[in-house]
């Protein structure tokens, strides 16, 4: 009994140590992955938020070309940071559609004027319903939709310069 007691502190420490190692390897701010990856895109019907740009109606989307679906908001700072990369992707011929979360037409208009407009369509998701149905937990997030309309990848956080080739490769694979 006493023998065991003597080694108890070390055993407890080993336990705590293992926990902490686990905590370090998998940081707790690990982002919530969407359960929708690998599943077909849910049907979304969102009205247009800015004039002259259509909203989102996935039922009417032509199959056959992969595309990016960007979840963003004008009030989101990382969205400003990722704007140049999205423009680059657009120049590379990628079709980018967007969902504006909890936003207003005037704000989105101003955001596009300031940061450039990479989007083909922008849907208005005032109540975050479409965002939730995608399994997205924050802004910005970018989903890769393949030519059959299946979500094949989810990029969480702002798209950085080093992410552009990765996204292009994912789109190439999604053809």
């Amino acid at each position: 009994m006493k023998k065991l007691l003597i080694w108890l502190p070390l055993a407890l420490f080993a336990l705590v140590f293992a926990l902490v190692v686990n905590g370090l390897i998998e940081p707790s701010d690990r982002i919530v992955r969407s359960a929708m990856v690998g599943k077909p895109l849910p049907t979304l019907q969102l009205p247009a938020i800015v004039q002259g740009k259509p909203g989102i109606d996935t039922a009417a989307w032509p199959k056959g070309t992969p595309r990016l679906l960007n979840v963003f908001a004008s009030w989101c700072i990382p969205c400003v940071a990722e704007a140049p990369q999205l423009l680059k992707l657009k120049q590379a011929g990628v079709q980018i559609d967007a969902i504006a979360v909890r936003d207003s037409p005037a704000e989105v208009q101003a955001f596009l004027a300031r940061n450039g407009d990479p989007y083909a369509r922008i849907g208005d998701d005032a109540a975050m319903r479409a965002q939730l149905s995608l399994g997205s937990s924050g802004v910005p997030e970018t989903f890769v939709i393949d030519s059959r309309g299946v979500i094949v990848d989810q990029h969480i956080g702002d798209v950085r310069a080093e992410d552009v080739p990765k996204l292009l490769a994912a789109l190439e694979k999604a053809k």
């Binding site: 420490f13 080993a14 140590f17 905590g23 370090l24 707790s28 701010d29």
Partner: protein, 642 residues
Amino acid sequence: MIAEAGLAALWLATAFAIAQLLLGAAAARATDPAAMLPGVRKIALVQALFALLAFLILIWLFVTSDMSVLLVAENSHSLKPMLYKIAGAWGNHEGSMLLWVTVLAVAGAGVALFERRLVAETLSATLAAQAAIAIGFYAFLAFASNPFARLNPAPADGQGLNPLLQDPGLAFHPPTLYLGYVGLSVAFSFAVAALLMRDVGPAFAKAMRPWVLAAWIFLTIGITAGSYWAYYELGWGGWWFWDPVENASLMPWLAATALLHSVNVLATRDGLRAWTLMLAVVAFSMSMVGTFLVRSGILVSVHSFAVDPTRGTFLLALLGLYIGGALALFGARVGTVTQGATFQLVSREAALVLNNLLLSVILGVVLIGTLYPLVAQAMGVQLSIGAPFFEKTAVPIALFLVAGTAAGPLLRWRKDSAQALLSRVTIPLAITGVAFALFFAMTGFASPIAVLVLALAFGLAAASIAPLWKRNLRRTPLPIYGMVVAHLGIAVSLAGMAADTLFKQERLAAVAVGDNLTVGPFKVTLTEVRPTVGPNWSALEARLQVQRGAAEPFELVPQQRFFPNPPTNTSEAAIATLWDGQVYTVLGAADGAGRWQLRLWWKPFVTLIWAGGGLIALGGILSLLGRVLRARREAREREEWA
């Protein structure tokens, strides 16, 4: 050039630490260790001087605003007041780690310079252990957190220091806590050396005791000051938030408090040998765990992209090495430590064992609460643990501890009778009962636990003075006074905590200029809201006229400050300290219609919390003074004999 000199000093300190480890280990096994000891002592001193030099150079870089140094550019600004430039040196990760290891080296040098009672083998092993800890943290600085890294090209100016940290109290808060944290390293090294050399006894305990006391005093002051800082700077009116960083400072304190009591038993009665060794290891382990938790960012999960994973891994490896190593050594060797003096179930020793057990349980609870989010995460759940958990678990155990604190000093060493104890605690018990009835009648069922705490505080106050009863006060040794004052401090602090819970009054309202509010016995009138500027901030301030009854009104001026570098808003609470409590006022946002949010508290006797903390530290100081004076006297007497 100067930054490179700092780095060079750091490397030289590392080299001397390695020499200290090798020579110390050699001396511990040599046939004539006393001959080698002076060399080890000198090396320890030189190592500390180089570490100190590196730290002073870092301060110099901050004072001169050398923006070509990355750390200065990231954390300082040329327009900052001088005090905060200096404090900026340790108000960041790299600088604070440098301070940490500097304190470690200086504490080691202190042992090398002043320790004369311990046998040469054990002292050499202690210095070697101290050097072994230092080497790991020097390596951490050199490979994962170089404070002297350059930035090329140098920016025109720096990015400033977090405004929350721009406060004179906080400037000196981390160094105080670090002195406590790292001071415990000495106890750790002593314990490791004692286990290695199989030399556990009163001499070892007497050598360790002043270091534990000193570290504990700094921890007490650091925690008290930190709590007051959070209270007035964060503007929430609370004084303890059970936040991981606070817990990180509380855990070593709990362990050190237990150690402090058990080392006394070992020094005077030669009992509790294994306990003392264990607690010495645990106390510094908790310091390292605390440093790790704070520095790795593992528990602060606000999308912490700034946290460098290599740092966390490096620190964790050091932790595994030192704590794991010491605990393994404990397991392997403690069986060979012979049992010390024994004692009966009702005795001072038994009360101190109870104290150790209860403190350890509280420590365990706080540790579990702090780490539980990691456990949950390992099981795939994300959660955080807040104040309710700690209040439900730690507080009830603490109540038993308070009762023990009251009764313990009234027990005799080795053997006593329960009946005698009962007769000695009659008065404190009666006071507790009367106080409970009185306060319960005043507040009812609002918070029975707080009423109990308050009543126990009165009982403890009476019981803690009792050891002086019928004693010749002029011949009573200082350590006894130390104990009385420290225990009284606990009572005072508890009374403040309970009074804050039971009697505080809060008002939150939107008011226009000219309106008035009442909070407690005070009438508060908003007379003006106006802009103002400071050295590196601008602010809106509200002028509040506060009046109690027909007394002379006084003015309080809470502010909302804006710091441009980096852009941050802080709210500066305005607090009036009266003899019977504090009026605490915070200016909130404007509602756009000419009204301002005002948050007012009347907190009767809340100041007792920190006054009690001060008394606890004072008790430690008295005790330390008594020990040091006595050791000197004994040394002098030995010389006269020789």
